[in-house]
Symmetry: C2
Subunit: 340 residues, 2 copies
């Protein structure tokens, strides 16, 4: 029987831990116990891992949601990784590199299968996919899972969809078995990089959509912004990953994730605040210090576009960068429609 | 100089009349005076055409919006058609056939150019495109214009986009010149039938999106419904019109029109009422007797699908038909996600 471990126990990590622990309970391919690496912290004088394991609730990051008792919070990364056959990464992207060094020491062999749900890209003199980073540093196969998934809705068993992108087909199918349920429907594709890029690039459009809402743009205009974002998303993905398939854009990780992020994500909410004149630091502070992905992604994509000399092809993405970092007026997001 | 006439002066017709009359004023390719055929009716004891021409306002169908004085309301179809070089059709689709017989008598020659903005399909032992019907019955070239266009926003000069689909390229470009402005951005394509079909099929999805909202489905679920609708829209368009281009789906007439219709159209609003248990007749009555396009389109598409024996490929569209006409529970719209 295969052992599944989850690396990360924040809001989304705990949601996914709950989902998987319920899903695999009656599947004799997998060991019932799901280990979830949990950064140890004290909550009201008690260790978070102990609270999770005793109360079956992550009182800090997913309060009010009952967790299955086969989901175990574990503070030591060694204990989580050393027997794992399947590793599920759900870390904030700024923790990926640091954690990788530790995890590497304990991976039992090259046959371990990984999957990452972390959104974002790493930047080191160029764009690095998190799936590539993990694959290269851990020496194991890494798939990705992305989709139109608001965490708290997953925690309430909302009917949702997601997309797994794989390198190795049989790993894709095995991972589908872990995640797929009647209310969490998984489709799989070999177009891994489009899945991964879509989950990151969408945040640029969401910022713009939020700015348009914040400026009280009428619906004709906000959907035009959505459309421009979708087109530039497809274009930049094709630039970075020329073998992208247009069908992947129609998966949950494509258009549906873009839409859910525009309609109700944090980046869209931040866009509204930008339109109202708030600065990025102030916005992040107002959101409890959480790091926003949209502006950072807009910046890195801008540098990439600029290095290729193709700024003119991305008037919308460039406008988001300039609004976030160059004091451009929020109104200039409409230029991509009116001036092109 | 070319004479432009508009056939129709309802809410959308008047909006478009206003837009065009402003647009072409300084373009010496076109005669300044735009004739707008207006069904004569009495409003507070006075003829509607006289009110429009004296007050520069369509008090009945677009109250509160100033019209340019080069837009002339004309009650006789003969006077509107006989000198026209360009005919713009914006009739409710149930009036197309009747009007066609009259218009036919007065068209001056085969070089007259037509464009239709009417959404819908005609059904006579099979699907008939309105553009084909007009072309065949009037003997002139017909383009189409569709897009993410809420009429009252167009009337307020909201930044909007639309798509012209043409048969004859130079006609497409000429028509673009008539409609395109800084705030109403037109793109053109030779994929006319995809443009026209998209403008009709979208209403099925909008009904379903509205039902999901009416059932208080969470956002993960409503965007999954949107995605399924988009996929079935593309699939049915490919079935009816095999040379469809996927790029057209990314035009305003494709995904943006679908989105605007889900977010704020009448069909989406009706879907909510269906979810609350209202019947179609009651809903139409509550909307002032206006005919809903979504249910009729769902029905005709269902018959088309059934005649081809491909119901299984369209679980979402079939569910909308069954909810509207076969007393199926509104909840069954989720089956297309959970059971497939």
């Amino acid at each position: 029987m295969l052992n599944i471990s989850i690396i990360g126990s924040g809001n989304f990590g705990t949601c996914i831990g709950r989902l998987i622990a319920k899903n695999i309970k009656d599947n004799n391919k997998f060991n019932d116990e799901i280990k979830m690496w949990t950064y140890e912290e004290m909550v009201e004088g008690k260790k978070l891992t102990e609270i999770i394991n005793e109360k079956n609730e992550n009182v800090k990051y997913l309060p009010g949601v009952k967790l299955p008792n086969n989901l175990k919070a574990i503070p030591e990364i060694k204990d989580v990784v050393e027997n794992a056959d399947i590793l599920i990464f759900i870390l904030p992207h700024q923790f990926v590199e640091r954690s990788c060094q530790e995890i590497k020491k304990y991976i039992k062999n090259k046959n371990v299968i990984g999957i990452t749900l972390t959104k974002g890209i790493l930047y080191k003199n160029g764009l690095i996919f998190i799936s590539d980073y993990l694959k290269d540093n851990l020496g194991i196969d890494i798939s990705v899972l992305m989709g139109a998934n608001i965490a708290k809705e997953i925690a309430n068993d909302a009917i949702s969809e997601a997309t797994i992108g794989y390198n190795i087909k049989k790993n894709g199918y095995l991972l589908k078995e872990i995640f797929n349920s009647n209310y969490f429907k998984i489709s799989i594709t070999d177009d891994l990089k489009t899945v991964e890029l879509s989950g990151t690039i969408k945040n640029i459009t969401a910022i713009g959509y939020g700015i348009a809402l914040g400026l009280n743009a009428p619906t004709n205009t906000t959907v035009a912004i959505f459309r421009r974002g979708l087109i530039e998303q497809h274009k930049i993905i094709t630039e970075i990953h020329p073998t992208t398939k247009i069908e992947t854009l129609f998966e949950s990780a494509g258009i549906a994730d873009l839409l859910v992020t525009c309609l109700s994500g944090r980046n869209s909410a931040s866009g509204k605040k930008i339109a109202e004149g708030m600065g990025l630091e102030e916005i992040e502070k107002s959101m409890g210090g959480q790091q926003l992905q949209g502006p950072g992604t807009a910046e890195e994509i801008y540098h990439f576009i600029k290095s290729k000399g193709i700024e003119r092809e991305y008037p919308f993405f460039v406008s988001i960068y300039k609004i976030c970092f160059k004091n451009a007026s929020p109104n200039c997001i409409f230029d991509c429609i009116t001036k092109y």
